[in-house]
Symmetry: C2
Amino acid sequence: MELTDRQKQILRAIVDIYVSTAEPVGSKAIAALPDVSCSSATIRNEMAELTQIGLLEQPHTSAGRVPSPAGYRLYIDELMQDYRLSLDETRSLNEALELKSQEFDKMMSQVGKLVSKMTDLPAYTVATRRSEAVAKHFDLIMAGPGSIILVLMLSDDQVKNKLIKLPVSVSESDLKLLAAVLNASLTDLTAEEITGELLEKITRSAGAASPLAPLVMDFTLECLRQQHGDVHLTGQMRLLGQPEYKDAAKAQEVFETLDEELISNLPAVLPKDGPVQFLVGPENVAKELKDTSVVMMRFDIGEGMQGTIGVVGPTRMDYAKITAKLGYFAENLGKMFQKGGAATPPALTEGTEASDK
Amino acid sequence: MELTDRQKQILRAIVDIYVSTAEPVGSKAIAALPDVSCSSATIRNEMAELTQIGLLEQPHTSAGRVPSPAGYRLYIDELMQDYRLSLDETRSLNEALELKSQEFDKMMSQVGKLVSKMTDLPAYTVATRRSEAVAKHFDLIMAGPGSIILVLMLSDDQVKNKLIKLPVSVSESDLKLLAAVLNASLTDLTAEEITGELLEKITRSAGAASPLAPLVMDFTLECLRQQHGDVHLTGQMRLLGQPEYKDAAKAQEVFETLDEELISNLPAVLPKDGPVQFLVGPENVAKELKDTSVVMMRFDIGEGMQGTIGVVGPTRMDYAKITAKLGYFAENLGKMFQKGGAATPPALTEGTEASDK
DNA sequence: TATTGGCACTCAGAAGGAAAGAGTGCTAAG
DNA sequence: CTTAGCACTCTTTCCTTCTGAGTGCCAATA
């Protein structure tokens, strides 16, 4: 059944108002809007019908209306108007984007903090592997007597290192030999293909550096098996600023699920069809989060990696604004990462002033 | 003025009870304790005196007593009985300590998570430099056409790496040359001693790899200037489990200060005199945290580094238990790090059963 | 037929007590 | 010096009442 234009307008208005006030919206409030030209009674009739269809809900008989999950869904899919970032906002996003060039993981964590700050909601970032990783290059560096640095480059351009301390000292040439062996026999293999047998073979060929071999193998396996980078979740406390979580118990429940649950489950529901994905209330991963929603967006990082940034908030959140901000981040982060990590913020692009508020 | 034994006993009892109930303690509750042999009236008299001296407080005339900050201080300094970890607790701490051997920073973050989980309170970790860091060793690894991995080892045994992508490709021998130049002229220098002049000199001697030189220098400076490792703060939400923060607004206030304030200020108040330090309520860094306390403990990590783990909680927290747990962590982490990062939990040491409850 | 003003009705939340209960301080007796 | 007893204080809790926002429906209107 199709909604009439007026019904759409009313639904949109209700979501918009509810998003900013967090209070059920009454018919009078709608009628008072400048671009609504009918009386509150008419609105009431329409609202009754929208409630009937299941797009609105009534906390109790004598309260205003609140969008139902289905209502939000419809709003997001069809009614939501693009939020245009104001110049001011663009500017502060740009400022924020001046990331210190750093190690990959730190950068991701920093991005999470930024997004959280900019949206005033909890945010997370994950880097996911698009394909199975293999080792591309090994290097062993002598760092002191008995101290060896293992540097491992993966097919997705991540670089990992580990400082290994041995009770015995190994000569520079032994290290070279082992590195050569590793590069010859351990590269381009997936985690499954690395067997105990192979380890033995390598240890045998490693000569004096053989005690190193198992340590290197372990570390390599560990790196290869890491399906996705660490989940960085920050700004949880910002959720407390939202009226629906003013009861600490409620907030805690969400947090408890969020921490663990998110880490294990969210990457699985990564957007496949589009760059942005909304998980509205009950669509969410865990039933504890039924009043909580997630907006997530992915962006491309170098070779085999793909990043996701997400924002967690009450189902009543400003999807349009958040999407706009996430989009800005995603776009520019993608560019930055692809340039190879040199973090220069994009040129300030002029845009018509936004319709904030 | 010295306290009588009985007064001490009463103060201790009040702290102990208040710690576990979070409710003001009445004279009756004390009198009912098995090892107290006088009546509630006597207790009342003593309590009145303790209140007089300023060791106890009364939320209102007809309520029981609560320890004042000074009371907590005295308790911690003189009255607190060592908490002995139960075998069960030791066991689960040991299990927790089976850290995945990983990069240094991740390990610290993991430690924070563990401590938070084990104490059920927010926790943080920082690694602080004991002395000024210098670069000890540079290495440049060819990772592909135009892709170079810079590996930098610092005097405090930290290893940093960065993947640099250049639009032009550089030959293996050019890299070797630059690495040699770097090792010859950039090692053992503090951040201040690295000047623009030096950069020019290096760039000149770098030959074909010269475009790399400034990037390397920047990264090096960044690493050297990092006074302390990242602050890893986790488990903030656990604070919500504490009754004093059941009001979300209160909790949020603490969180807001905690995040930023902690990062910048806590390392400054690092324990200098002993391994463990208590910041009780108003002694704290920020006035917003006046009802919040911090227990922190340091431990030694390799060469020039020193780690701090801390727990944040209501002033009414179980200092003895938390100290015991932190101590266990600190001790074993120290050992682990000094062994060079191979994370083996310590042998399970037998201990008399603890007086938990 | 669609809209509108009007009106009775509902119900959550605020406001105002009253009663209960925990704990104190003080006094007088042991 | 200790203790039982008692009057007193204040918070907390539980009602009850009241208020007001918002609805649904109906009859009048364009």
